[in-house]
Amino acid sequence: MFRLIKKRMNMTDLTTEKALTFHIKAECSRTKARTSVMTLPHAVVETPVFMPVGTQGTLKGLAPQQLDDLGCRLMLGNTYHLGNRPGDNLLEEAGGLHEFMKWKHALLTDSGGFQMVSLLALAEITEEGVKFQSPHDKSDMMLTPEKSIEIQNSIGADIIMALDDVVHSTVTGPRVEEAMYRTIRWLDRCLKAHQKSHCQNLFPIVQGGLYPELRKKCAEELIKRDVPGFAIGGLSGGEEKSEFWKMVTLSTEILPKEKPRYLMGVGFALDLVVCVALGCDMFDCVFPTRTARFGVALVPTGQLQLKNKTYKRDFQPIDSSCSCSTCSRYTRAFLHTIVTQEPVSCSLLTIHNLSYQLNLMKSMREAITEDRFPEFVQSFMLKMFPKRNYPQWTIDALHSVNISLS
């Protein structure tokens, strides 16, 4: 903790005592997109931003320097996994996750709730918290809002998440409402338990499933609390895209403009572009890094499955317009021979896919700054759907913010 305070005091931006500042640099004149500068204890981050997920305190197959070189300034760690191994006590002893993994820029941790519910067959949610069996010795354990914050305080990320009552987006009925109200009560417990608000920013999470009224109610309640930013949760879980975008845009309508909006678990390039248009600032997803390990490379026209025989004699790089270290050295033909066979292929494809995602975000920021974001979106969509067979939900979503797809 002392180290974090010391570091903050050495920062050039001493104009504020806050652990987070958010300045909107430019807004799109037609959509809800905006580009901003977010200052955190460990980094200055330009938004909209995509955050790679380094689940267990490492981005699989990459050294932190490589991630730094790609321009990444904010990445994720998972509290559930890190709380198990190496454990919050050890991380505390190590001086926090930044020091442990030697990541000098910003970190964000989730609350641990999502993994708990999705990974553990016998997780039971009560008012107290999430009750589960320890994966190691099967003893009964409890993740309370207080405990989640305690673990996240030990990890030391710049942004931490309140423990929410996560409900799968396809669940219907009174459970959704119950979860929404409980999320608000748990937020207040998290806020009370939070020991390091001077250097760690606690974001609450808007829940409410696919029910507009519940989402609205939830957002309105969360806004009453003094928090530096907001997350939109409970989406990106397999619900219909036609419902998904409506909940996203509803949330950004209500959430205050001057604070960052983090859309959790999103995603695919297409989703990123649409949700930026709908007013979101921060995103995270395992997709680009996970799909890399299955031999899939991301390109402006979609995806390349490099295991495919078509690439056996293809001596182009993955993307001739990409300047990442993989594309400047290797051909599709070479990668075809090593994907899913040699561990290094994970690293090579991960570098490319992250480069793709981060450059996509950069292009969007530039387009918004120069107020040509709608044109950017139209051009992006045409590259991805040359036959103009746009998914209906994207047509509707973009139309709602004044972009028409011909």
């Binding site: 267990q56 305190g57 050294a63 050890l90 442990f100 030697k102 561990p343 690293s347």
Partner: protein, 271 residues
């Protein structure tokens, strides 16, 4: 040779029959020597006809199993061919067990072989060899080795920790905390080892990360763990060769060998 031609290498080894070991019969050994020479002659002919390989260097392979006379014959005959270097094989069948193989078992065989070879062409000895074995092979006249050893060490989650600094007085003598060339980063004693794997090591892994972090990576089967170990092990193994070359240049290989053996097998002190 079609394959070699397509690869367009700088150096390539001629196809050889090295499938002999200490249990091979005299007949088998003799056949491997003859066959290897036949292959070599064919490869040389093909090389000279190929645009891609005209200027590449061909390495002749020396056979002879564990038979002194066959070793001499193979070396003599191969040395008569226009080869750029020699690879000495046929002692064992490679694989992970060769880590236990000792140069002392083939000392005489290597000696008589190398006696037949010209001074100005490199000698390759492939196989898994730890630093002390390397020194023995170098004393006998071998020049080039390969990297299987750091690789197998990495695969088992271990990091090289043998001492290189005290020989050139870069630091005072300090009993190392292990009598082995390596330590296992999977050992729980490293779980809160908030220090580099090897004190003073200038590799990327040791300059940036703690043993505790690498323990965590290995414990969670994270790819970065073996990446960092590999970087460290290569770095340290290459450094060994640098120190060795300097010792040879200063005509101190015997002293270096004695020092190295002594310092890396001292009894452990609790750290």
């Amino acid at each position: 040779m079609d394959v070699v031609d397509a690869f367009q290498p700088d150096w390539f080894q001629a196809l050889a029959d090295s499938d002999t070991d200490q249990d091979s019969t005299k007949k088998r050994i003799r056949r491997s020597v003859e066959r290897t020479l036949e292959y070599l002659d064919q490869c040389i002919k093909r090389k000279e006809q190929s645009d891609h390989l005209k200027n590449a260097s061909i390495i002749g392979v020396l056979e002879g199993g564990h038979s002194i006379s066959d070793r001499i014959a193979s070396a003599k005959e191969t040395a008569r061919r226009p080869v750029a270097g020699f690879s000495i094989e046929g002692f064992h069948n490679f694989g992970p067990d060769t880590e236990a193989f000792k140069i002392s078992e083939i000392e005489e065989l290597l000696r008589v072989t190398i006696l037949e070879l010209p001074e100005d062409k490199p000698r390759f000895l492939s196989g898994v060899y730890n630093p002390l074995e390397i020194i023995k092979a170098v004393k006998l006249g071998c020049d080039i080795f390969e990297s299987t050893y750091p690789y197998v060490v990495t695969e088992r989650g271990c990091a090289f920790v043998f001492d290189l600094d005290t020989w050139e007085n870069k630091k005072p003598e300090d009993p190392p905390n292990t009598a082995s060339f390596e330590v296992s980063l999977k050992n729980q004693m490293f779980q809160n080892g908030f220090v580099p794997m090897l004190k003073g090591c200038t590799c990327y892994a040791c300059q940036n990360f703690t043993a505790a972090y690498i323990y965590h990576l290995l414990n969670t089967s994270e790819l970065l763990g073996s990446l960092l170990l590999m970087i460290h092990n290569f770095h340290h193994y290459f450094r060994f060769f640098e120190v060795l070359r300097r010792a040879i240049a200063a005509d101190k290989i015997i002293e270096f060998e004695e020092h190295f053996e002594r310092i890396n097998s001292q009894p452990k002190e609790a750290n």
